[in-house]
């Protein structure tokens, strides 16, 4: 439900970056990493991006989302890696369980809360 405010935050951040570091050409694609702990609809994020970029230098650019699996660190046994996911019939989504897949202790989240722009695909500027 907060896709618009987060899309706006991504857009403002990128616009600030581009003002300070101008890049020749037009932005065709914006690559975003989205952590799997977040409750964000991909469809709604893309739609928010389309609407919010209208009339800006990013108008027409496509938001490309990469899903980032949840990774955890276990303070008890030292496990570091992907979290266990629970898939139950009828739930329709895989739920990351914040418990060590190796020893069952509580874990710290190391990845999976990200919402970050990590790359841009630029159209090549016309030859001079």
């Amino acid at each position: 439900m907060h896709e618009y405010s987060l899309a706006q935050a991504l857009l403002s951040g990128l616009q600030d970056y581009l003002r300070q570091h101008p890049i020749p050409g037009r932005v065709a694609k914006v690559h975003v990493r989205k952590g799997e702990l977040l409750s964000l609809s991909e469809w709604a994020l893309k739609e928010a991006w389309r609407i919010l970029t209208e009339g800006t230098e990013l108008s027409g650019s496509e938001l490309v989302l990469e899903s980032v699996p949840v990774r955890v660190r276990c303070p008890s046994c030292g496990y570091e890696g992907e979290a266990r996911y629970l898939t139950e019939e009828g739930w329709h989504i895989a739920v990351p369980v914040l418990s060590c897949p190796r020893c069952g202790s509580p874990v710290e989240i190391t990845e999976g809360r990200d919402l970050a722009i990590v790359g841009l695909t630029m159209t090549d500027p016309p030859a001079p």
Partner: protein, 214 residues
Amino acid sequence: MHDITGSFGDVLQRQLELASQNFALLKQHGVRAVNVMGAIGSGKTELILRMAEKLRERGLRVGAIAGDVAGDDDYQRFRAAGLPALQINTGDQCHLDAHQVGHALEEFPLGEVDVLFIENVGNLVCPADFPLGADVDLVVISVTEGDDMVRKHPKMFAQTDVVAINKVDLAAFVGVDPERIAADYRKVNPHGRVVFTAAKSGRGVEELLSALGF
């Protein structure tokens, strides 16, 4: 076409930083904070009032921040119970965030309380994505919402330390088995604590306080 890779800013990293700042400010004043989440009408405000009564009997000073899209009904209830309180109106935002809470903490008389309840906007989806900097997260579900609340919002519960299943005195009337809700929660969160409560009668309030570390 060509690709440029790099770091263009993580919009949620900023939220985590602000949450850490809030946590540090609360600790500076020796305040223990609880982020209270849950659907509209689950009984968050009533449970906070009941917990506040018990904590005050123990000699602790309690305050509350009420987060709502609009209105100040919860704030008025906190004030009427004699709690130092503050209202945050999110203006259509579906959750509190660390930035709003940070501003509220600047205004709040933190020196006058030992415990602070932060009542989030009634919503079972969005608040999970926005840590506030509290010591512990509590989600309140009422049996009148049905026994499928965890299955409908599993990510929220996977990240929540303590769940209060409230209005258990009404379970038989609405044909809901509170144990089923608890079993679903334990699946997504093997380390979480479940407490059955009936805020109006005070049932389970002491156990809830103990689960929250009081």
